[in-house]
Symmetry: none
Subunit: 194 residues, 4 copies
DNA sequence: CATGAATGAGTATTCATTCAT
DNA sequence: GATGAATGAATACTCATTCAT
């Protein structure tokens, strides 16, 4: 992915806020230009289309996840600690920028366009493959119980993270996501350890 | 909720299909009228607004869930069997009509309008309260482990169901949801039983 | 004009109310049918078109005015008393059914369709010719001053009546139209008598 | 009121013509855009809504009247001359732009929307208060007869002006409004002077 | 007589995008 | 780079009218 210019970065960031505030229907060029303080035409100097903005958003998320999850599985930490890293990476990120949660969990929104839904799938895959690596290692070295299929453990872990974040969003970010996330993490640890 | 006329039922059902096919953006009165083979104006003889159609869809889902989950917790079955009922209710339903899954998991889509998002929340609540009843009973009578908070077990169960269905959708319904669901169910049972 | 059936009369009367309440834009077949408690289609049993309803309204007004003003000028009363008759005819009528005022003074509304504006003009003409007859007689027999053209006196009389009624409507019928009308009448009398 | 851009002025002026030609029902965005030679959407670059266009029209009329009638009563002219100013202001204006008459006398058209009818009432009030000032001065200094209430004189003056203009419109501007207006003015002068 | 469903044209408004300046 | 004007297609919804039942 090409480097983004400062203006492009600004557009992308405000687009994310806009989606968070008013859902994807609120992301119009008009709204965006108002938020940025540029004319509508000006936006097209920086992106060829609205689609490109969306693609850039998703790509940047993917890139970020790639970078952050890349070495988790290769580290020397225990499997359970590695899972903790995945948990905390997500909960910290969403707490810092709740708008990201709104965008990431809006797959259905992007299913319109295949080129966008592919990016969403890549993001899920990144998490799945990281967890797969962690869990398989953990099962091999006796840290994690083996009487349950690895992919089912993954579904449970990702599913419970996603559901917790979804409820956090639907309740307007009322509860402390990191706190709840930590309790959830401990529960998961208890459940899956050998 | 009032009885729906046959035409209303037809509109509602085709609207659900439309959302499933093209996401909420695809649910336009024009698309809908084309699908039904009526003029656009004709739809307004049966519903006052597009909003009403959406509300009817969500209400019918809620009503259905109410009816189906109502007595689960009161039955004489074991807690684990009751959980199985919740699982199979959902997986059977989605397998029969995949479009429903697309609509139900589109909360972000409805967050635009409070009156709609309230309905979505009610649906989640129905599932949560059913599971809460089941699990608390199970913990009390020694069927379910007590070292993990009830609400975290709920997050894991609902989360993993939702995530499994989401992946099923994103992979264009390629795998057998009921099969996978059954394996997931067994995994969950193993994890939470005492 | 043909006799109106009871149903036609009902439709015409409720149409007048509707125009009074919501101006001509509020007169839709849907609104009308709701007010009558009939279906929309049913209205077309009684009138061929919305236009016909409007025409019937205006014609009935004209007919009524014809009947009531017909003999005023031929009576043995003095000119000033005859003018009083014209005044009181109008103010009594509007007080009894304010809706009529709303419709009658909405010429601009009917100017769309020539066939309708012709009816409105006939109504004005009826008043003008009645007053012309009265005033010319009055000027001839020395009751009314002759230093002012007859048609200018007419403009002043009709104009002041219309303006008083217009203000009455615009202030939501707050003041007593008959009272104010009587004072206006006395003023006019003073001004025009020899 | 903000300065209008040339395009806005063009839109407002053509909207006035449109109302004059086809009454308020003829003022649709489609008609307007056709008349201007722009697309419908383009109009929304210049006004936020049709309502705004209407409001701008009425406000400009009010502003114009405010400016023109402001100093009439404060001048050193005799009361009768001041009344002549009010007369000629109106008749000149309507002769120059007959469309204005069509809009101004369409109160019933704007009664739908309170924010619009308020503007129309302000316009009437401006005329009333100007005349009230003139007549009261005239009655005080012996120019105008005192045996008739001031507000009744006002009703007669405004009423006869309005009615004359209304007939002018309904007869498709056939007669010379300024001529007729002048005769009416002389008649009024004779009637009200002491 | 009356209903309810249906139509087709029309209504204000929004949107992504283009382009001359 | 940026603006402001413009476009054309789309959006939800309304309306007078028709017609089978």
């Amino acid at each position: 992915m090409k480097e983004l210019s400062p203006r492009q970065l600004e557009i992308v960031n405000l687009a994310i806020e806009l989606i968070a505030e008013k859902s994807i229907q609120g992301l119009t060029i008009k709204n965006l230009s108002k938020k940025i303080g540029l004319s509508e035409g000006a936006i097209y100097r920086h992106f060829n289309s609205k689609f490109d903005i969306l693609l850039t958003i998703l790509s940047s998320f993917l890139q970020e996840a790639d970078k952050s999850l890349q070495n988790v599985c290769e580290s020397d930490n225990s499997a359970l600690d590695q899972i903790e890293s995945v948990f905390m990476y997500n909960f910290n990120r969403f707490t810092e920028r709740p708008a990201i949660a709104s965008v990431i969990f809006s797959e259905s929104i992007f299913q319109n366009d295949n080129r966008l839904s592919v990016e969403v799938l890549k993001l899920l895959d990144k998490h799945e493959s990281t967890l797969k690596c962690i869990i398989e290692n953990g099962q091999r070295n006796g840290e994690i119980r083996v009487d349950i299929q690895c992919d089912k453990l993954i579904s449970m872990i990702i599913g419970s993270i996603r559901y917790t974040v979804t409820k956090w969003r639907l309740t307007n970010f009322e509860f402390d996501l990191i706190n709840e996330g930590r309790i959830l993490l401990e529960s998961i640890k208890k459940l899956i350890k050998k």
